[in-house]
Structures are given as structure tokens and as C-alpha cells.
Subunit: 283 residues, 6 copies
Amino acid sequence: MLNESELLKLLREEDVKAGFGMTGGSIPGRKDIIEIIQNLMELLFPCYYRLENVLREPGALLSVTRSSLIRQVYSAFSFAGDPIPQEKAEELADAFLSRLPDVKALLFKDVEALYNGDPAAKCREEILISYPGFLAIMIYRLAHEIYELKIPFLSRIMTEYAHAKTGIDIHAGATIGEYFFIDHGTGTVIGETTVIGNNVKLYQGVTLGAKSFETDPDGNPVKGIKRHPNIGNDVVIYANATILGGDTYIGDGCVIGGNVWLTKSVEAGKIVTYQGKKERKPE
Amino acid sequence: MLNESELLKLLREEDVKAGFGMTGGSIPGRKDIIEIIQNLMELLFPCYYRLENVLREPGALLSVTRSSLIRQVYSAFSFAGDPIPQEKAEELADAFLSRLPDVKALLFKDVEALYNGDPAAKCREEILISYPGFLAIMIYRLAHEIYELKIPFLSRIMTEYAHAKTGIDIHAGATIGEYFFIDHGTGTVIGETTVIGNNVKLYQGVTLGAKSFETDPDGNPVKGIKRHPNIGNDVVIYANATILGGDTYIGDGCVIGGNVWLTKSVEAGKIVTYQGKKERKPE
Amino acid sequence: MLNESELLKLLREEDVKAGFGMTGGSIPGRKDIIEIIQNLMELLFPCYYRLENVLREPGALLSVTRSSLIRQVYSAFSFAGDPIPQEKAEELADAFLSRLPDVKALLFKDVEALYNGDPAAKCREEILISYPGFLAIMIYRLAHEIYELKIPFLSRIMTEYAHAKTGIDIHAGATIGEYFFIDHGTGTVIGETTVIGNNVKLYQGVTLGAKSFETDPDGNPVKGIKRHPNIGNDVVIYANATILGGDTYIGDGCVIGGNVWLTKSVEAGKIVTYQGKKERKPE
Amino acid sequence: MLNESELLKLLREEDVKAGFGMTGGSIPGRKDIIEIIQNLMELLFPCYYRLENVLREPGALLSVTRSSLIRQVYSAFSFAGDPIPQEKAEELADAFLSRLPDVKALLFKDVEALYNGDPAAKCREEILISYPGFLAIMIYRLAHEIYELKIPFLSRIMTEYAHAKTGIDIHAGATIGEYFFIDHGTGTVIGETTVIGNNVKLYQGVTLGAKSFETDPDGNPVKGIKRHPNIGNDVVIYANATILGGDTYIGDGCVIGGNVWLTKSVEAGKIVTYQGKKERKPE
Amino acid sequence: MLNESELLKLLREEDVKAGFGMTGGSIPGRKDIIEIIQNLMELLFPCYYRLENVLREPGALLSVTRSSLIRQVYSAFSFAGDPIPQEKAEELADAFLSRLPDVKALLFKDVEALYNGDPAAKCREEILISYPGFLAIMIYRLAHEIYELKIPFLSRIMTEYAHAKTGIDIHAGATIGEYFFIDHGTGTVIGETTVIGNNVKLYQGVTLGAKSFETDPDGNPVKGIKRHPNIGNDVVIYANATILGGDTYIGDGCVIGGNVWLTKSVEAGKIVTYQGKKERKPE
Amino acid sequence: MLNESELLKLLREEDVKAGFGMTGGSIPGRKDIIEIIQNLMELLFPCYYRLENVLREPGALLSVTRSSLIRQVYSAFSFAGDPIPQEKAEELADAFLSRLPDVKALLFKDVEALYNGDPAAKCREEILISYPGFLAIMIYRLAHEIYELKIPFLSRIMTEYAHAKTGIDIHAGATIGEYFFIDHGTGTVIGETTVIGNNVKLYQGVTLGAKSFETDPDGNPVKGIKRHPNIGNDVVIYANATILGGDTYIGDGCVIGGNVWLTKSVEAGKIVTYQGKKERKPE
């Protein structure tokens, strides 16, 4: 028969060995942060992202969301060891909420891009109802505003929620222009320091990642430097292409074919395609 | 302090600018459509996909599912601006439900294909309990019947549910033969006009997509033409291969290696493999 | 009007044709097994993976989890046609639970690897809160202990839960060393007989899979042989690389570039990169 | 070991013996009817009876409630063996909903009566938040409108919901004037053919019931005749008083003391008190 | 600022002072026992007491209920300090379940009594859907079978569930004949050693209770003796009547008026009514 | 067809006529206050009143409960038009929480009284698991501490929760001594200014209420004066007795029989019984 209390003791000892404390209540609440995102989506597009069977009253929804966001902002700074006063948390939450109309305007442009770019889309409403690419972009655009306000932890939890829902992993720190398009999207990764222009189209499995990491003399990664590529305007990148490196620039109007691996820049207007296949008969 | 009502007004104004109305109740209900899919799965394989802790009574489950489906069919046509009478909605729902035994027969063949194709499968039941590839195929085969009845919106919401659950994105319009096999499957994409024969095996990350889109004189995509490849019988396509284009035909018995990019047809019986790697020492 | 009872009869007949029985209650309960995994995660890292809004009492949680696990172990053997006595089920459950402190120690090493390997990670706690790579590794390490005890079905349901949540599909049978690192991870697949050394880094879309299956004279796959590669220590494998085959060995210190397709071994210390692209102007 | 299928067979046989069929789906849905009541309460007093954490949008809530009510009206008539066309069900639901503003005006008068009659009430809002007497009156007033439209079953399920929540059992058929007051209320019963004037106050445990039932020559109760008392205006009835009979009239301005048993009429302006106690020392 | 750990310590110390241990997991689970009752009600009358929106499959429901009951029987004896082997728990559960058809036959007789006794009942089905009196009798009849098997704790939790739902408190130990009728029922109490004949009608607020308790030389109540009245056949007891004492016998055919207090026996065929009121003008 | 927006407009107009505003978010949250009560019950007796299947960690539970209580205290004062600073709300919440150990000590005495007073109680634990009388007393004792701190609204919502669960309505303002006993309890009412001594026993349906209300010159009730009786030590009051009036004193050691109506004081040691019945033969 199992000695339960001994087992629990052993488990706790591992925390001590690893230098992890029991910090309980003050950890930012994943569940609450995801609820904030869901509320924001209903505020932006009430008929398409309602959480309950019946739409919630926008005024009350905004007010509840604001309160919850203030609490999460406050506790995120506490958890990061950098506490702020309640007033500062309110100020940051309000600065974020004031950006919502602009975010919504941007998102309507993304809807337009998806509608024009996907022949399978029968109407614009279908995109709001069912496109994972749009869901990922919407959550990224919201999380990006949080990131810009330098609030710790929250934006990451938001984009990981989108990642889990769609398989699309856009870091909230990335900079992405207007009329952005991701179709299918599973496996797409966009790194923290990526910069993307206007009218860019990405398909599933595209990585805009880091080439290699600079390490400091102790072998630790140097944090906070430019590690991911720049993508110009009007670029199309097909499925499973991998583009790496902080000094890799893909010029305006380029087309990058599927399954291509790129760690060097490409001039504007070029087409890069994969050529590495061999066809033969079975032996 | 945030001016909440001003903010809500600004948000609503964006809808007007973008030409989006507040259409509320009549939008097809994602939640209800997903429940229909879950009910259908329990009707097909009650022990393996029960939604509650205890199996539900099949007669009652069928009757509830039929009512809900009729409502969704009715409201999908309304939302599409093409309303139909209640009787027509019932007729379409019944036409769909009458197809269930044939769909089930097809699915047992898919189970067989997965069992024979995956050495890790210990028994056929394991496939029903835990294989995401089977889940995606089952939902596709149900959604395809909806698509064939030309009911708007519903099939897309169904396959996007499968996409979110499995990372496998099969458009309900695709035509797929018997004994279909997808293993692992994350990132696999099968486009709307794809045609796949019998005994085909796909692995994770395979794209059967569109090469480029024809645009009309105004630059809008021409909708409704053949854009995705045809795959013959007995074809195997390994991980991360990308095959594009409406006139790309992969002949019977071909093997397409992983990470290959293909936009041209391949004759029957050929093997296509990737050759583009270079091995070197670190500098 | 649909003949509902006729339809239900037809559906049941398909089970008979396919040789499937109505085995009802005895099928291992997906919902319960997923709850066991969630409870184990809360036992290991209570502040980071709590299921309720408030932490649950560890002693009571352990005791409830143990009871539920015993039931699932018992019913898994029954369903596999290989029933065991209640005492044996308790013994196996306790053997598993006794391994938790060692699993926790291993997981802290994985946290370390993720922190050191990802410049975007601001602190170690962030990894526990939000990294899908860590979630997948944790569930794999738990499921692997179940697999090692030769309990049928359970480990597969556990890893498929991780697969659905993260897009990362690690078979519980794989052998994986210390300080394992997966970033982003969507589409990563690690097969049943894979062996991975210490300090290995994988990115999204990497497949460590099987090359081709041996079949017995009847054309059925031979189950239970080595089918997946060995990866040495200190290896890095970039996005969308595909490495296949039971006799494919990647030596210590290798770097495998993104989008590479490999079915042959690579000597220690080599770098393999993709070279198959062509750049041109649009016609 | 229990023979489960034999047991189930025996249970079903009891239905046959008792002449009860398996009528499944068509029985009016208790859960749905209770949800209709909850929605109506939120429509009347949104801030006080919201079902979700956030208020729901009134327009959408009304529209959902109307649809659900139409379905329940339709199925109630079917179950009663007296089917009506869909249009008639819509007409009845709309007739009911059009009465809501008048019901609301009546309810504000009841709030006034409770506020004036209970010295413990600190403000009118407290009555809406927490008085079971008000809850019971509100549900009665809604159910009474349903009863007046001669829709079967629904009003009974509504008032039994109030009964379960508050211990107050008001039959929907009763006729109750303005400014009605029930305090505490547990155990209060008001029968189907009771008529109550304006400004009446009842306390807990008051019964306005039937004296004895007329039976037809077969000994069955004669249904549909006046069986319960009339209460005039400005009457007060204290705790646990029992007043019975269809020809028992309590005149305007009477006060009926607690624990009194009355089966005869009382003239206007009289006070009836209990006199039956004896005080003694313990033996 | 509150010292939380000091407060928790003080709370735990009160347990020690009062001699209460922290017995955690082994306490009979209220939630599980209530679920057993709900499952039993659905097994008896599936269309009227289904717990989910759709009926559950009777075979699976019985099997799940049996397992849960076995666990609760087992843990109830453990908690009572009188552990039994697993086999004995199974035997008791099966003995109980085998009684269900007889209980169902009895309940159909109670439905008949309610239909015949209440002129407001429009049909027999209405009684199953909405009468709290029937709900309380059904749960009493089930709990009584448990009580007869001398299983500790469980029957009390069952009847308290009925008490909370209906305000009717029938002790599972009471003996009640056929064709039992309770109308409205709020406040009705029937004590443990009460014996009730056939065709008895009770209204709301009726108490069949204990007169006074015999105490042992230490002043503690003597447990396990006859303390509550016997009620003959064909007796009617009106609202708020209180009948007390273990040697109080109400003979066949008696009618006990409302608000009467009785601690002495009444011969068969007598009518007892309240006479204690005085009518006067207000001063 | 219903004019929905017209109907909504009419409903809103009734608010204006009645002088009720749309105050939305600031109304004390019934759901949250009930959750606070449930958390407090789990803090006091974790094994008996756990809300989840598994006990919650006491430290975390206390901390969550404290935060929620602070918010409710704060918003209750705001809603009452008497706002307090955040610090004051914290102070009041902590004052309340510090009283928990004393409340727990009192409650153990109540358990003792119930165990000694009810021969049907098999052990003390059964009282915590299943006695509604204890539940009502526990919630009263908690709410009374809130009432004593002069926090508006909250205590009323707490005791109405107990009322709905048990049918026992104890106003939080009542003063109740040690070793208090209520059995069955449905319909028991204890008014705001009641004072009860030690070792008092009440049964179901007992009212300790107000005789008549003093009104000011405008006919409004005078609020805040003594309106309910005083009950001495060692008093027993049987079922359905009604005792009214602020100057009605029941002396130490009295026994009040069931169904008695009392509006005058009773000297210590007296027994008051009901004598108002008449026995006769049926005509």
C-alpha cells in the first residue's frame, strides 16, 4: 500500500531542490486571462464570438472585463517582482481598452484580405464564424497591444490560447501590417522580433524564426535582440517554408515557395522555389 | 477613467464603416452545430464517443439531433440570404440522416486501413478511442454529406471543429475514396476540389493545396473552379510534402517522400524523393 | 418523414458486419483518464496546473487520483481481454505513483532546458504557465511510466490528450533523455521506438518517424520492431525536418537544418542543411 | 450477481401494467420551462435576476425566450392530446409576451406593498434581491398569464419551480389583486380557485385551501368547480392560519390571527383570533 | 492585515477540542448519493426524471448506478466504524436494486391516489412531472429499502435531499402503506417510527412526531424506541395538524382537522376539529 | 408577429415610472455572496461541506474568500449609497474572518445540542452531513457576525440562501444563545429583534414574529424598534407554535406546545398547551 504522505513530502522536496516556492494565489490566472480574451472578442464582434447562448449586454460586459483586466495587470506585475499601484494598473487597462476601436478597424481589413485571398470563402461572415487564421490574428492583435504596454506574462498566455485553438503561434511582440492573411495555419510560427509589411499571405507550416542564438560568455542566450526576419509588403509564403534569422529580409513582392528553407535575404520581386526532388521508379 | 459608453459607440461605428450589420440571433450557432456532430458520433459509435458519462438512449438521441439539425439547416439558408420553407429543411436533414449507415460502413473501412497501416495500433478499438486521424476522417465524411446537399455554412463549421481538435484540415468539399489513412496528421490540409482515390495514406503536415488563383479582371479570385490536385489509388505521401494545383495528378501507386514540393503531375508507379540536403562540418 | 427505428437498426447492423460488439461500460473512460492526467499535473505543480479556481488539498487529491487510476488500470486490462485481479491493479497504480518524485526531478531539468534555450522566456515560471512544449513533455513523461508498466490503452489516451492540446505527438513508448527541449512544437511527431539522448532540441514540425513497414507474408505490418531513429546527445533539429527509419542514427552534437528529409544516419558533429532552392524572377 | 437485463425488463413491465407508455421526447421539458421563467425574470428586472455573471442583451434574450416558449407551447398541447398548428403556438406565445409590461407594473406595486409592510426592509432594491415572497408572486403573476391562455401543463411547472425555491405554493389559477404581500412564506398554499382582493397580507404557513371535494357517483373528484375561499380587500392573515372552502368569504378589512382554522365566512371588519391554549405548571 | 495561517491554526484547534478528526475521503459523498437517487428516478420513470437533455441508455445507467452504490455502501459502513468486505457491499446493493420493480408498482398506486385525491390534477402524467408530494414519496420509498437493509447514513442523505427539494421530511424508517397522498406538503414531517396504513391523505404542515423523549439516567435520549404515532387506513389529516407520541393511535377512517394538536389516540371513524377561535371587532 | 423592440421599450418605461434605475454592475452579487458562504462552510468543516469533489487547499481557499468578501463589502456600501474606502472594506472583512474560530466553537455546541436532542441521530458526524437545522444555524451564525459589523445587504442574502435550502428563515439580526436546536425546521421563522437564551429547542413551523407594526403619522412602519419576542433559557417550543410581539417574554424552562398562538408573556417554568379541539362522529 502506498505511503501517501511520504510521497507528498518527496514531491515537495523537489520544489525546494529546484528553488521553486509555493506561491499560490499570486500567479496570473490562466483561466481568467482566457476569459478576458473571450470577453474582448464578444465586445468586438458580438454576434460571432458570444460565449453564452445569448449575447451579453455590452456595457456590463465591458465593465466586468475592465475589472478583471485590472486585477490581472496588477497581479502580473506583482508576480514579476515589480509591483505597481492599483491606479497604474487601471491606467494600463484603460490605455489598452481605448485601443479597441483601432484594433477592430485593423481586423476588418484582415477579414477583407482573407475574403479576397481564399476562393473557398463564400462571404465575409463565414470568415468570422469559422476561420482559425482570423481567430489567431485577432488574438495576436489584442495581445500585441498588451505587449506594447510592457505588461508582463499576459500577452504570452493570450497567444498560447490562440496557439492551442488553432495551431498558429504568433508571438505578441511581432509587428504585423495591414491586410494580413493566414490560411489553414496549423504549424505557422511567427517569432517575437519579426516585422511583417502590408498585404502579406502565409500558409500552414510557415516558420518565421530565429537562426541561431547569441550566447553570453556563460553560454546563456542573449535576450532582447533582433532574432527573426523582416518580411516586406505584398509577399506570399507557401506551406512549410522556413525563414530564419534577424538579418534575413524578404523584399516587397517576393513569392517564397513551399518547403523552402531560407536563412539569407531575398531581393524584392524574386520568386524562390524548391528544386530538390528526384523522381524514380521503385526498385 | 475610461469613458465606457463612448468606447462602445466607437466600436459600433466600426461595424457601420465596414458594412457589417448586427444580425444577432440568425447566425448559424457554432455551439449547436458542434453538438450535432458530437451527437452523430455517439449515434455511429455509441461506446466510443459518448458525450455524457452514461450512454444516451439512441432513439431519443436521434430525435433530438434531427430537430436541432432541422433548425440549423433552416437558419443557415436564412443567413445565406436564400431562405427555404420548414419542410425543405426537414427533407434535407432526413436526406442527410438516411446516409448515416453508408457513412458508417465507409468508416469501418477507414478503421481497417488505420489498423493495417500503423504498427503501433494494438487493436481496432484503440483507433476509435484515440486516433485523431480517424476523428478527422469521420467528421469529414459527415460534413461531406452536408456539403453534397448544398447546405451553406454548416459543413465548414464541422470541419473546422475537427481542425481545432486534431490539426487536420479537410475541406468538406473534397472527394475521398475508401480505406483512407492519416497518421498523426497535425498540419495536414486537403483543399476543397481535391480528389483522392482508394487506399491512400497521408502523414502529418501534408498539403494538397492550390497553386495559384485565377483572378477576374477586377483582381478578385475566381471562385468555384478546380484548384487542388487529384491523387490516384494506393498512393503514400510522407510528412510535410506539399502538392499543389488543380491539374496536378499523382498516378496510382506513387510514393511521395517527405518534405517534397510538387506542382507538376507524377506518372503512376513513380517514387519522388527529396534530394536537397548538404552535409558539412561546423565552421 | 424519417423512419427513425429503421435507421437505428441499419446503424446497428453495420457493427455486426464489421465484427464490432456493443461493449458499453467496460471501455476505458477517456474523460476519466484525462482527469487523472490533470490531477497528476496539479499534484506535481499545484500552483501552475490547478484545475479549480482554488488549489485542491494534496492529500485528498492524491487519494482520489489513486482510486480513479486503479479503476482505469483494472478496466484497461479487462478491455484488452487480459483481466487482472484488483490487487494487481492497485500494485500497478502504486508503482506508477511512486515514480512521481523522480518524474518531477526530470521535469525541472526540462524547464531548465527550455529557459536556457528560448531567449523569449523571461523567467522559469513562465514556462510552466504557458509553454506547450513543456506541457507535452510532462504528459509524455507521465504516460511513459504507464507504458513501462505494460498497462494497455491508458498511455495512448494520455499522449493523444497532449497532442490535441499542443499539436505535439510523442508516443509514450519513446525513450527521451534529460534536458529535453521542444519549442512551438505544432506538428512535431516522435514515434514509439525513438531513442533520444540528453540536451536535445526540437522545433515545430519535426518528425522522428518510421521509414517503411515490414509486412508479414499476408501483407500485415509486423508489430513490435524498432522502426524509428536514434538521436544522440546535444543534437538540434530545426523546423519541419523529417528523420525516418529504425536504423537511422543521428550522432552526438549534430545540427539538422529545417525542412531536411533524412533516411540515412549522420555521423557525430555534422551539420545537415537544405540546399534545394532556386531563385528567379517572375515570368 | 444482479441480472441487469431481467431487472430492466421487470421495470418496463410495470409501465405496461399501469398503462403508461414510453412517450419520450414529447413530454414538456421541465428544464426548458424553468429556463423560460429565468429568462423572463431577467427581461423584467435585468439587474436583479441575471442568470449569467454578465447581463444578457435584452433583444437577443427576448428572441431566444420567444422561440423556446413557442416550442414548449406547441409540445404542451401535443402532450395533452390536443395538438395545435405552429401558428397558433406563436400567437399564444406572443399574446403572453405582450402582457409583460402590465405584469411588470403590477409587480412594482407588490414591491411597494412588501416595502411598506416589512419594517426589516431597508430599501426597495433589497426586496428584489432577496425576498422569497416577491419571487413567488412574480412567478405566479407570469404563470397566471399562461394559465389564462389555457395552455396546458406549463403554468404548473412554473409555480412548482417557485414552490421548490421558496416553499410558497400559489396555484397559477388563483386570482390575486394589487399590492399583494407575503412575508417569509414557507408553507403558504393558495389554491386554484382562490380569489384575493387588493392590499392583502399573508404570512408563512397560511393555507387558502379546499374544504372537501365533491365526488361524482363513481367516487371521483369533480374537477373544475370553485373549491377555495375568497379574501376581500385589506385583509391580514397571520402565520399558520388555515382557511378552507369555496363558499368561505373573508370580508374586507378582516384580521385573521395565527393558527386559526376557518371553514366559515367572516364579516367585513372582524378580527378572528385563536383562543385554545391552556397554561399550567409541569406535573 | 489578517494573519491567515494563525487563523487556520485556530480553526483546526477547534476540531481537536471538539474531538473531531480530519477524516477526509472516507465520508459518504453527498453529491454521489444524490446522483444515485437521480439515476434511480430515471431508471424508474425515464421520460419524467431524465437528468440530461437526452434519455440515458437504461442498461448503461443501471450499471453505472450499481457501481456507484456499491462504493457508497462500502464507504458508509467504513465511516460508521463497522467495515464490511467488498462482496457484502455488492450483495446489499443488488438486494436493493432487485426491489426496484416492487417499489415501482407501489409508486404507480401513489400516482393513482394523487390523481384521485386532487381535483386540480388534469392527468396522471402531470403528477410525475410536477408534484412535490410524489417526488417526496418516491425518494422515501427508495430510501426506505436502503434503511431496511440496515445500511448506515445513506437513507438519511436521500430523504434530506427530498426535504430540501420539497419541504417534506419523511424519515426513511417510517412504514407507509399503499395509495399514500401528500398534497402541497411544505412542512410535513413524518418521524422514524411512524406507521401509516393504506389510503391515507396528508396536507402541508402535518407533523407526525415524538411527544417527549425518554432519557437514560445520564439525561441522554434513549435511542431506538417507538416514538411516533400510528395512523390507520383511510385517514385524512388536514393542514398544520400536529400528532405526537409513540402510543398515539389514529383509528381507521378518522378525519383530523387542520391546526389540531393531538397527543392522545382517536377511535376509528371519529372527526377531530379545531374549535379555539374567537371573533371580535377591532378595538 | 411580436414587435420585440416596442415590447422592450415598454418594459423599460415601467422602470422609469417606478423610479427604478438601471444600476447594473454595482448591485451586490447574489452568486458571489453564496459562494463566499460555501467557502466559509468548507473552511470551518472541510470534510463535510466541500464544494468540489476534492477538498480545496485551506490557505488558498481562505485567501480567495477574503478577496471576494472585500469586494462584496465594498460594493454593498456603494450600493447602499454610503461608499467606504478600500481599506475600510478590508478591515471589516478581516474583523469578520477573525471571528471564525469563535463561531466554530459555538457551532460544535450546536452539534452537541442536536445530537443530544434527536434520538434519530446516530452520531455527531451525521448532523454535519445531513441536518438542515444545523445548516441553517451555521449560516445564521456567520451572517450574524456580518450583521453586527453593520455591513448592508450581505447578511440578508446569506440567510435567504439558508431559507431556500432548508425552509428555515432566521434573520441575521436575531440574538441566539449556545446549544441551539432546530429539528426538521421547515417553516420556522425567527425575526430580526428576537432574543433567544441557551439550550433552546424549536421544531418545524415555529414562528417568533412581530405582533403588529407601529406606524408613523404617514402610515409607514417605524423601522428599527424591538418587534419580536424574547425566549429564556431551556425553553422547548413544539411544531407550528406562533409567538409574537416585542414585549412577549417566555421565561426560563417553559414548554410551549404545538399549534399554540401566543401574544402575551409566559412566566418561567410554565407549560402552555393547545386545548381547542372537538371530537365528533361524522354526520
